[in-house]
Symmetry: C2
Subunit: 464 residues, 2 copies
């Protein structure tokens, strides 16, 4: 071949071998060197360009590795047929369309927690201790069901607080209910799943219609009579505090539901106990799991409400009968929660900080809850409240001629976030009145009245 | 009804209302009180038991909430039909079958990193700064594609190091390749996916046979000719450093593959660039994505090898054309990585520590790589090495009359972990010789020779 024509720049920081590699590569791409053409020998090129043979070797090795040239032993290097491989130097897009999460001046979302009461000092102490040279083995991949230390703490917490008797072996840790739900579903060949309507769906909407059977909810929770008439073999349920209605599954329905599951081998109940820690009258409702004699309940919960949503730690408890199946299906899968975070949480729980935090937060949320209800009762008597005494939101029925989505839109325009119950309806249900979830967890107590007043004002509802 | 017969214990820490609640509940469950029976009025019971009406109200409210009794306004409380609700006090299982992850004295797994060189001090500094009262807003749920700050850093890293031009908006952060793969697949109606054989599978084995089409790999990477004859519309590929063979997809095949994808609207390439940072001769192989003119490549990578496996941070870059679809399908999903960790990583990258760490680690791994190869060449000439010059493992072909799984078993019995290539074969392939992945990332440099000697000794391969 003719000599390659390009100049090497000895004054830049780009190594010479790289300049040579780029030059030859570009020449090949732009077809300045034909396919099959032989490259100059290392010695010849070294003489010509006045650079070391090592530099040329490096450049040729890179071209070889990327397949631009091929080597014939003792003959030389030849240009490969690379079709029309385009190398595009696209300009970097300097004006990205910013898509940051919108925040609102007033936020009644049910998922917000009280951020002022988080024990940062204690948490940081454990974090510091763990991110330490001594825990360098925590850099490697961990147990695929989650760290054993954390699972032990969760098992002990569940026994003491929820009457659930399980071992660490039955627990699987993941990054959230949405991430864990598909895992549970994949354990079954037949996944006709019944979901509460309205309800929380950890299954994507677009996937839902193919797999889910909506079952209605009344003041006593899921209508088990209705469930019995379906083809469902699985049911996803929030018995302690139905989301979003706040209903508690009655004892009669609990018995009926457990009986339903026991009737067929393929039937299972997925109990989501997402915010059972926060009940403001009496004691927590016992978990359905604690009543189950036939290993038919897959218990699921999360630290989202009880600690922080951003930590992304949730878990489920498998009946012993499903453990082998789990190990068979998910042998390949690594736990998704960073190990350091798992150990921080395990230490935090072990030293009693989690129970302490829960007790403290229960009082704080109770105060907010009571305040919210007293304002609604006293000043907005036309608004019907339900689903109270637990959790971090209540339901409000608003007497208004406008539709839910219109009212939501008005709120958004005024920098207020509030979610309508229709967001959680799997099938259209005829509602008497526009109904909303009024979350109070994230609102400072002294802001509850002004925020509520602001919402009512934009909806033109008079304060009494 | 007759008076309830049970005694209250005023000396325990159990509140009186709870004792009353438990007593009545047990009586209902054991059918000592018949269904439909009226409970004594609060006043009457208060007189009889000599406790306050408030205590009784609390107990009744709890029974009501759990559905053991029903209230008829102005008449009283009645026992509900609860079927045969069993409340079991199972004894806690005190001897769990411990299932901790097995560790080995010598570990040649390809997934291990060098844990002695992690910059703990710097990492802890950022962790301390972030777990702070001032970052309390980080407790709430974050952006569902991942934190914008981290996505910006990743975009900038990809531009500088991999020639990839993308914006933060195109990036989705998740907890690992296995967690992200199902996301990508759900973006397509038709998911006939071709996988490299042998190859890494981020899809569970039991699910694989229904969806995956194996395509063979040779010294130039995936056989694109073979791919063209399949019905696949998606292909998952590791072009920079094929896992586990170490092949680099040649320039000709790159062009051919991009052309294949461009031919049909439904075709896409999933490029997994999992350990492109570690190449020990020449410069990194450019990402396939950087050559793509038609928005056909979904680029995917991870911090598993470049930082630590236990952090659980991976990401993919969507072509702009798939963004709308992504938002539609995954509008419900929260990012699975804890926000604090995302911000620690973002700050670490922003201040240049990530590049510094990579440069440092490249040198460390190169030394280990060179050491391993020199020992193999000098002392074990009968062993054929391939897939070298990059990554954290090489392939070795062992001249032995025993089968791969027998050799693996012998190693395990001697407390040595080593993985055979057949673990990564999607369909049986006739291998000339037992072939293993020899990972060196996690082995201290002075242990490489003794560990290798130990392995060869248990396999009865002589040292020369």
């Amino acid at each position: 071949m003719d000599m390659l024509l390009f100049s090497l720049d000895r004054d830049t920081s780009t190594p010479l071998y790289e300049q040579l590699y780029e030059g030859i590569k570009d020449a090949i791409i732009q077809q300045k060197i034909a396919v099959g053409e032989k490259l100059p020998s290392k010695r010849k090129l070294s003489d010509f360009l006045n650079i070391s043979q090592t530099t040329i070797e490096l450049a040729y090795a890179q071209l070889l590795a990327e397949g631009y040239i091929a080597s014939k032993p003792r003959v030389g290097y030849f240009v490969e047929d690379i079709d029309e491989l385009p190398f595009i130097e696209k300009p970097i897009n300097s004006t990205p369309t910013v898509q940051k999460k919108r925040t609102y001046k007033i936020d009644f979302s049910p998922g917000k927690i009280d951020e002022d009461s988080f024990p940062f000092t204690v948490w940081r102490k454990y974090a510091k201790e763990l991110i330490d040279l001594h825990s360098k083995e925590l850099l490697q991949i961990g147990d695929r069901q989650g760290e054993y230390e954390l699972r032990t703490q969760i098992a002990s917490y569940l026994y003491q607080s929820r009457g659930i008797n399980c071992t660490a072996e039955q627990i699987v840790i993941g990054s959230g209910t949405e991430q864990l739900m598909p895992f549970i579903l994949r354990l079954f060949d037949d996944t006709n799943i019944a979901l509460e309507n309205p309800g929380y769906s950890a299954i994507p909407r677009n996937h839902l219609e193919h797999v889910a059977i909506p079952v209605d909810v009344d003041a006593d929770g899921l209508l088990v009579d209705q469930l019995e008439k379906t083809e469902a073999n699985l049911v996803y349920i929030t018995p302690s505090h139905q989301f979003p209605t706040g209903a508690v599954l009655s004892a009669a329905r609990r018995a009926q539901l457990l009986k339903w599951a026991a009737q067929k081998e393929s039937r299972y109940i997925i109990e989501d106990d997402y915010d059972s820690e926060f009940r403001y009258i009496g004691k927590p409702i016992p978990a359905l799991h604690s009543l189950d004699q036939n290993d038919k309940v897959i218990y699921m919960s999360t630290f989202t409400k009880s600690l922080m949503p951003s930590l992304r730690v949730a878990y489920f408890v498998l009946p012993p009968t499903l453990l082998a199946r789990y190990n068979e299906v998910f042998g390949y899968y690594s736990a998704t929660v960073p190990r350091f975070d798992q150990h921080i949480l395990a230490h935090f729980m072990k030293d009693g900080h989690f129970s302490k935090h829960l007790n403290r937060m229960r009082k704080i949320y109770r105060k907010k809850h009571d305040k919210l209800l007293s304002i609604l009762t006293r000043h907005y008597p036309a608004i019907k409240v339900s689903g109270d005494v637990a959790g971090m939101h209540v339901l409000i029925q608003v007497p208004h001629e406008k539709q839910e989505h219109e009212l939501q839109q008005i709120a958004i325009e005024n920098d207020i976030s509030i979610l309508p119950i229709s967001n959680y309806l799997l099938t259209p249900v005829q509602l008497k009145r526009p109904t909303f979830l009024l979350g109070f967890g994230g609102i400072p107590i002294d802001k509850i009245e002004p925020h509520l007043d602001a919402l009512m004002a934009v909806w033109s509802i008079d304060k009494h």
